[in-house]
Symmetry: C2
Subunit: 204 residues, 2 copies
């Protein structure tokens, strides 16, 4: 089933809430809606995308709802990725342990700075970028998380594509021109901030 | 005018393209659309939200289109913010110079770790978190960028609200319960990644 982007986004937030929920076996759509400052009818509509959401008269069973989100969004299907750029942002993402709970496993990092190569950040080794094509092939990884400085982003994207990467999660403020067959997802932080401040609303 | 979120997001991406565009005075909707692997009719529709987009027979005037996006999205209205948490993610955001071109000025950072307090990251001083209420008042800042570890996020949010912060840009994988009057924008990285990989499409 093709779930709309906004719904995927919200289901992930519901999952965050359930992770932290310690107040009982059940949670209502109203409780979820209040935390996110949204309408409870929207919460119920989103949850209809799931199978076995565990609804009963007193609300949703927390464990059932949690596993149902996990199954529907595929948290159990591990996707493996490399981080390109071992600067602050790359290191922050490498240290972000929540990723692995949600199906994203970072295997290694790459940089061209000899000072960084050989370091280990949260158990992820930093390799020289020249090792990328070989490791993409041998480990069969097709996702790259791009965190290099803006001025190197386009060249890096072409190098990734030539190395066999098929998905680029792009954290740079740069639109990447890539060959056909390579997908780019722009983590557009500036666009996100402008949405927040220009419409003056909560972000769900 | 209230511009839909998706359109704000795409207009920012068009601006990235124009920033890097060195091939002439004019750019067509088809050129923009190809870079983002989207439909050119959508590009033209988005640009209709702008005044003075500078359209003529050979395409859009690059400078006019750029300034028009800047005016419409308010890049010139500086918004000032504090970063809460001087770890890798906070430091990466403090070093992200593109923010200031898009109207976001980071004034300072806050942390509770004595080793970090007193440091300067990209000309932004790291203050002890206890200084926050006073600096919020004196500098009249109402935006906080929250990058603390997940387990401290909720307590930090309440502290921010009590200190007079009105907008929290939340980078933690945690849904924050905040008092009325405080807006939260969730930079939901995991939701973003799941959108990318579950629908297998470009992210625009």
């Amino acid at each position: 089933m093709n779930i709309p982007d906004k719904v995927i986004n919200r289901l992930t937030l519901y999952h965050y809430i359930l992770e932290d929920y310690e107040d009982g076996l059940f949670i209502s759509s109203t409780q979820i809606a209040e935390l996110l400052n949204m309408d409870d009818s929207q919460v119920r509509k989103d949850i209809k995308y799931l199978n076995n959401a565990g609804k009963c008269r007193v609300g949703y069973n927390v464990q059932d709802l949690k596993s149902s989100i996990e199954q529907t969004l595929g948290f159990e299907t591990q996707k493996e990725a490399f981080i390109i750029g071992a600067g602050n942002l790359g290191s922050a993402l490498a240290k972000f342990d929540s990723f692995s709970n949600y199906g994203l496993r970072i295997l290694a990092m790459f940089d061209n700075n000899p000072v960084k190569v050989g370091n280990t950040i949260n158990n992820k080794e930093v390799f020289h970028i020249s090792k990328l094509p070989d490791l993409v092939r041998r480990l069969n990884v097709n996702i790259a998380i791009l965190t290099v400085p803006r001025q190197f982003a386009q060249d890096a994207a072409i190098f990734l594509a030539n190395s066999g990467i098929k998905y680029i999660w792009n954290f740079t403020p740069c639109v990447l021109a890539v060959p056909k067959g390579v997908k780019v997802w722009n983590e557009n932080l500036i666009g996100s901030f402008l949405q927040f401040t220009s419409n003056d609303k909560d972000g769900v």
